[in-house]
Symmetry: C2
Subunit: 305 residues, 2 copies
Amino acid sequence: MKQGFDDVMSKVQKCGRKTVAVSVAQDSAVLEAVKEAKARGIADAILVGDEAKIREVAASIDMDLTGYEIIDEPDMIAASLKAVKLAHDGRADMYMKGLIETKDFLKSVLDKEVGLRTGNPLSHVCVFEIPGIDRLLFLTDVAFMTYPTLEDKVHIIQNTIPVCNACGVEMPKVAPLAAVEVVNPKMPATVEADQLTKMNEAGDITGCIIDGPLSLDLAIDPEAAKHKGATHRKIQGDADVLLFPDIHAGNLVYKAIVHMVKMRNGCILTGTKVPVILTSRSDTFETKVNSIALAAVVAEEMKKG
Amino acid sequence: MKQGFDDVMSKVQKCGRKTVAVSVAQDSAVLEAVKEAKARGIADAILVGDEAKIREVAASIDMDLTGYEIIDEPDMIAASLKAVKLAHDGRADMYMKGLIETKDFLKSVLDKEVGLRTGNPLSHVCVFEIPGIDRLLFLTDVAFMTYPTLEDKVHIIQNTIPVCNACGVEMPKVAPLAAVEVVNPKMPATVEADQLTKMNEAGDITGCIIDGPLSLDLAIDPEAAKHKGATHRKIQGDADVLLFPDIHAGNLVYKAIVHMVKMRNGCILTGTKVPVILTSRSDTFETKVNSIALAAVVAEEMKKG
């Protein structure tokens, strides 16, 4: 294993202590993850929401609230704006969704006054540690952008590079995926994959090595790459970033891995001023904790950059 | 396990003995699979191709050719037409690709005189047995149709039902997949999934239960379906057929499973008069043997129908 989530956890310990602002924090699954993150030294938290409910939920999960800053705001929308402002103002290093609808949470992220806009589109990256693969895989976008254009794909790649860097991958290999590894004008995904590759060669996309279109076996399996005689390719089963043609392909692969493979993962939203943690209720406890750790190392990386 | 590949193998034993016509048979990987299929009582074979080369390859893998009919035809295209004609004329029950380019093999399948056309479009179905899932999953189309229209998807479903039936699934549950489980006019895959569901409810597509759009977790994971409160759905984590929106989504999921999961699988081409076995060189020996077994039970089912 060249790098895995244990390495991410080690990196977190070397960062300065980070703080996550939690939006509408009265959620037991989110507070459990926040509690674990604090216990493991990953991050402190500022809990924004209905204080009475936060205290009630915390008691129900044996969480000691000593040492947590709590900002009492019973109204959900107002709470989300107060929480995101903490990240906007630099008082928090990451921003995390609690018991609030995703659309309302995203409104706070995109708020023009106190939100986390950078001018670039937001995208989602999910990081997997999969048995048999000797490195982390960065899947994007499996949850946020529906049908990314070529320009969107450039932004997705640029959003993902700092996440790779934060996890110790200096010059990530990016595989724009398709069903096939050759350009076919009848398959727009392959044409765009080729365009991204050429933009990278021309120096228009830097900080990574792009080689596409690639089928998934050529992207992740060195044996398959050898078997198919792909010795001329820049990626030969050693891709770091898997760039999906659209959300259906990305999301279906993401869920196939989550439901069929014994793996570790964590996900964040990028393209924002600070990393945003948008876990879903169906994510496991470990995924939530991993996502906070991932956000912490990315926050550190973004400060450097 | 309600059904798995062991059940397919048991069913083969109960069928009348089947015969596969092999197109350009001088291929060691294909002959190894054919030899194993004969040894296990799955199928006999008629080997069409360059007899000298067939004997040479057979000797190299310790394959005794006694009991095999061999038709000597050194020209590859001519061999493929002679082989497919055996299936066309009913002398063989299945048709299998050997050492011939896929496009030339498919030309023989689609040949107007001696081929296996039915008037319906061809589609590919890949059958998986996956640890933790108590039944076979039928993935379609992960390899053949690129961007199926609504009408194509109807044909894909109709092509897949006999494969399910052959494997013991009487009334397969078909999940037209997407990134989300609600209809979104901005996502054509979800609209078509809904149309297929309504066509099924109206009795225009019979022999199966269709419920879509479905995300992959709702399609295959009963726990996830329960967690998401999907109690009103016809499919609650118990789908048999996974219908993909396009070849990118299908192929990427297919390869994710093949390369990340310890599974058993077999694949055939359907929509033809008899099942067609189109394994690729990168398929394992077991996959090739499973594909012949799958074709054998489907051939039996098609005779019944």
